[in-house]
């Protein structure tokens, strides 16, 4: 079947199998490397992307469901050569180690700050509970979210 959607600001049309998962569409068809696959039970959140401005797990939906919609991945979060405040904060606060969960984690923090520009530590932790990280113990990610909130408030 044919689908047309916007990926990181660019419209594209592709012929896909109905069963093609959105994550595979983004990675294999659209050639992106940001969203990752860490599980098959939609628990780890490494595949998180924005669908019409809302964070979703792209491994838990079919590309067909995104037909006509707007998808933003980590690659589209900031204009080329620039960093979004959340990316910058992850960098400054050492909010990542192996980096595998990071693109999804950043999208989750972006979602959180979109909805709640000044979250408490507890709100941050709940905001990222759909994203598993095995490296950081989350503490520097919490710091990164706080720091991004401060930067975005300026």
């Amino acid at each position: 079947m044919k689908i047309t959607l916007t990926v990181n600001g660019k419209s594209r049309t592709d012929d896909v199998e109905p069963r093609l998962l959105l994550i595979h569409y983004l990675r294999e068809t659209a050639g992106l490397t940001g969203p990752h696959i860490g599980c098959e039970t939609s628990l780890c959140g490494a595949c998180t992307v924005m669908l019409d401005g809302q964070a979703v797990k792209s491994c838990a939906m079919f590309a067909a469901q995104a037909n006509g919609r707007d998808v933003v991945t980590i690659e589209g979060l900031a204009p080329a050569g620039q960093l979004h405040a959340v990316q910058e904060a992850f960098w400054n606060e050492h909010g990542l180690q192996c980096g595998f969960c990071t693109p999804g984690m950043i999208m989750a923090v972006k979602q959180l700050l979109d909805r709640n520009p000044n979250p408490s530590e507890d709100e941050i932790r709940h905001g990222i509970e759909g994203n598993l990280c095995r490296c950081t113990g989350y503490q520097h990610i919490v710091n990164a979210a706080k720091s991004a909130a401060t930067a975005l408030a300026k």
Binding site: E17, R19, L20, H24, R27, L32, T33, G34, P35, H36, I37, G38, C39, E40, T41, L43, C44, A46, T73, I74, E75, L83, Q87, F90, W91, N92, H94, L96, Q97, C98, G99, F100, C101, T102, P103, I106, E121, I124, R125, H126, I128, E129, N131, L132, C133, R134, C135, T136, G137, Y138, Q139, H140, I141, V142
Partner: protein, 782 residues
């Protein structure tokens, strides 16, 4: 093992050193923009995709395999079964112990499967969806057999034999003793005994394993891209398995999404993909699913330990006897049988008693093999000693801090020789404990605890004082060589590339090694690039595991740079027409004239080679293989304050305080990250994680739906600080920090909860401290 006195680290004279600074990482820009290349991001021309059929049974005989339908499925290129690969060498075990029974570990099952997940056949197709579909078309006639998953049940008479040739399911027994434990126990004024377990865990790196193999028919060369911690060892061992000459085998570890020991291994799939690529002359990719990751990538821990501690009434510990039953799983992976021997080495913990008697029984079960998982043997030992010392304190009605302080060796006793044959390099073990006690205001807490108990509240404080053996290690004491390599290249324009044989995958050496190189060469950090993970580019290296990346790879780099500096100075002297020059801030300076030339000028001269210093060769590069004289021994103290809800079994962590001593710190920001992450994995073991096999050897906790790694909401705020006792075994004075948090955490947490429940008569709890377990213990139904 002898220690050496380290030369002082040299610093450039005028610049503020980068080492020791809290700088953000240089590897991050690609990671935060999603442009890093992990294995699954690789796309090679004409690449095929593989999917693997695996055993649904813990034990079964394979009566027949029918691949006809799968082979005919449109898009399927090939299907291979055990018969096709029977001549490929076995998955290697690198550990040797006296009398060790080593089952032949084929890369695909032959006539029998030994664990759920055991690979049986591989389908290669043009597309990963097609490959997966065709797996379902393979028909296998199994004859299910009785299986056993519990190591103690496996040792019982009449248990199903995992390997029919060894009906007692015993792979080895191992004994080690130091001093005279029998005498110590005969003379003991008090003896405390406890069965203590360290449950089976699943490492759960967020990136599962994955392999891309490529084969060039023309020159018969193979490239394997694998998510691994040990590219060179993999090259050697997979080369041997496949009969692929090592000089025609390149192994690349691209970006690696976490390892924690689970990628310190050689896996069937790595050789299998090489086999397939060579057979087909095509690149092939296999990406592990999470389900496969849980059923076939190594697990960790799996200890049932029987502890006995002997002491005097004043709290002086005099001896320890431990029997370790190690669940090995069905096969030996790379280091499987060696892991519990590390536990034995660390049985005494930080205490000075000299009488130890240990026995290990290594047991086969119908499960995925256990092997090194963050801490690898040391968390088990630390958990054991720290629990039994708390129990001893309780028996003697002594304060748990006091009993620890009483039994530490004094700072002047270092280097300290332990009952298990180790030499602890340096330390003041009381220091981090006293600091942690100060941070939590120990005496005040104890007073408040008394008050809280009067009100019926269950509040506890748990201490663990841990030591760990790391910076693996002197070569005679490690299975594959314990040294590390480094190479420093200065290109003709003066830019520097550092290659390390360690293979960081999140630890941040791309930054810390650049800090070190920039300091030592006196150049801007932006002029330094750190390369790793590609056997075509770097000298043979050992890899990253056992908290060795910085502690062994760092010194190798340090010495390579010192060597290179001598060469730079010779070219500097040549250019300046001086007898001797000083190297300061990236320049060679003639002390007599004050004239100088830059590193770039020296390098340019070395490559242009119009003229060479006497006895010198062109080029500007140095390679150094560094052999450590000893392990390094980080140590520290963790204190956890908890409150337990008696009705629900819920544990509320009020404070988590850790004071870790990992020697000198190259980058505090990164050390904090290592500690936090380590604590998260220790806390995961203490409270949530357990790999559960049922009586049919089915893995019940086979997905993230049922295996609970900590989420952000489960973690307390970790108050991390340090004491600094430089290690004398290396010129950087570093000790290693990758595993510290994990090792320190679990006993502190369990001790805290046991302390909280002690008014109810609770003396011991095994991990994980699930709500139900706490509730039962708190309500007398242990």
């Amino acid at each position: 093992m002898a220690t050496t006195t380290a030369p002082p680290i040299t610093r450039t004279k005028t610049r503020e050193p980068l080492v020791g600074k809290r700088i953000r990482r240089r590897e991050d820009p690609r990671l935060i923009t999603g442009t890093a290349t992990y294995v699954d991001d690789l796309k090679l021309p004409g690449m095929h995709h593989a999917a693997i059929l695996r055993s649904p049974y813990g034990a079964a005989r394979i009566k027949s395999i029918d691949i006809a339908a799968a082979s005919k499925h449109p898009g399927v290129v090939a299907v291979y079964t055990g018969a096709d690969v029977k001549d490929v060498g076995p998955v290697p075990c690198g550990a040797s112990l006296p009398g060790l029974r080593v089952p032949h570990h084929h890369i695909l099952a032959q006539d029998r499967v030994y664990f759920v997940g055991h690979p049986i056949a591989v389908v290669v197709a043009t597309d990963r969806y097609i490959a997966r579909d065709a797996v379902d078309l393979i028909e296998i006639d199994f004859e299910p057999l009785d299986a056993v998953a519990d190591p103690e049940k496996a040792l019982a008479p009449g248990a199903p034999a995992v390997h029919p040739e060894w009906p007692d399911n015993t792979a080895f027994t191992y004994h080690q003793a130091g001093g005279d434990a029998d005498k110590a126990f005969a003379e003991a004024e008090v003896v405390v005994k406890q069965r203590i377990t360290s449950q089976r865990l699943i490492p759960t790196a967020m990136e599962t394993r994955g392999v891309v193999a490529d084969y060039n028919i023309g020159d018969q060369s193979m490239t394997i891209y694998s998510s691994t911690q040990i590219p060179h060892l993999l090259r050697t061992l997979v080369g041997l398995m496949l009969g692929q000459p090592e000089n025609k085998l390149r192994v690349v570890a691209p970006e690696v999404g976490g390892g924690f020991g689970s990628k310190l291994n050689v896996y069937a799939e790595e050789a299998l993909m090489g086999f397939v690529a060579r057979k087909l002359g095509k690149p092939v990719k296999w990406i592990e699913s999470r389900r496969e990751n849980y059923t076939t990538t190594i697990h960790g821990r799996g200890h049932v330990d029987y502890y006995e501690i002997a002491a005097k009434k004043d709290g002086t510990i005099t001896g320890l006897k431990v029997k370790i039953i190690q669940d090995l799983g069905s096969y030996h992976q790379l280091l499987t049988p060696a892991i519990p021997t590390l536990s034995v080495l660390m049985l005494p913990g930080l205490y000075k008693f000299q009488n130890v008697k240990a026995e290990i029984v290594g047991v086969f079960t119908n499960t995925v093999p256990t092997d090194a998982y963050r801490g690898a043997g040391r968390p088990e030992a630390t958990h054991g000693i720290e629990r039994i010392v708390d129990m001893l304190a309780a028996e003697l009605k002594m304060d748990p801090a006091e009993i620890r302080l009483k039994n530490f060796p004094a700072p002047e006793e270092f280097p300290f020789n332990t009952a298990t044959g180790l030499q602890y390099d340096s330390g003041d073990y009381a220091l981090p404990l006293r600091k942690a006690m100060e941070i939590v205001d120990y005496m005040k807490f104890r007073r408040e605890q008394d008050e809280a108990r009067k009100q019926g509240k269950l509040v506890g404080l748990g201490i663990s004082t841990y030591g760990e053996i790391c910076a693996f290690g002197p070569s005679p004491a490690t299975p594959a060589g314990g040294w590390e390599s480094a190479q420093v290249d200065v290109d003709p324009t003066g830019k520097v590339t550092v290659y390390t044989g360690s293979c960081h995958h999140g630890q941040g050496e791309e930054t810390t090694f650049a800090q070190l190189a920039a300091d030592e060469l006196g150049i801007p950090i932006d002029d330094v690039i750190v390369g790793r993970g590609d056997t075509a580019k770097i000298p043979y290296g050992i890899g990253t595991f056992g908290s060795r990346g910085t502690a062994v790879g760092g010194p190798a780099l340090y010495y390579a740079i010192q060597q290179l500096k001598e060469k730079i100075k010779k070219f500097g002297a040549l250019l300046l027409k001086a007898n001797e020059v000083e190297y300061v801030d990236g320049q060679c300076i003639d002390p007599n004239t004050g004239k100088s030339v830059t590193l770039a000028q020296c390098a340019g001269a070395a490559y242009r080679a119009m003229k060479l210093p006497p006895g010198e060769t062109p080029g500007m590069t140095a390679t150094y293989f560094w052999e450590p004289p000893n392990f390094a021994f980080p140590f520290g103290a963790h204190i956890v304050l908890t409150e337990v809800d008696k009705e629900t079994g819920r544990i509320d962590i009020k404070r988590y305080v850790c004071v870790d001593d990992c020697g000198n710190i190259l980058n505090p920001l990164l050390v904090d990250g290592q500690v936090h992450g380590g604590v998260a994995q220790g806390l995961g073991q203490a409270m949530y994680e357990q790999a559960v096999y049922d009586d049919n050897a089915q893995l019940v906790s086979g997905e993230l739906m049922d295996y609970a790694i900590p989420k952000a909401t489960m973690m307390p705020w970790v108050e991390s600080s340090h004491t600094i006792t430089p290690s004398p075994v290396n010129p950087l004075g570093v000790k290693g920090v990758g595993e510290a948090g994990t090792i320190g955490c679990s006993p502190a947490l369990v001790n805290s909860v046991v302390d909280a429940l002690s008014p109810l008569g609770v003396k011991h709890l095994d991990m994980p401290l699930t709500a139900e377990k706490i509730w039962r213990a708190a309500n007398g139904a242990n």
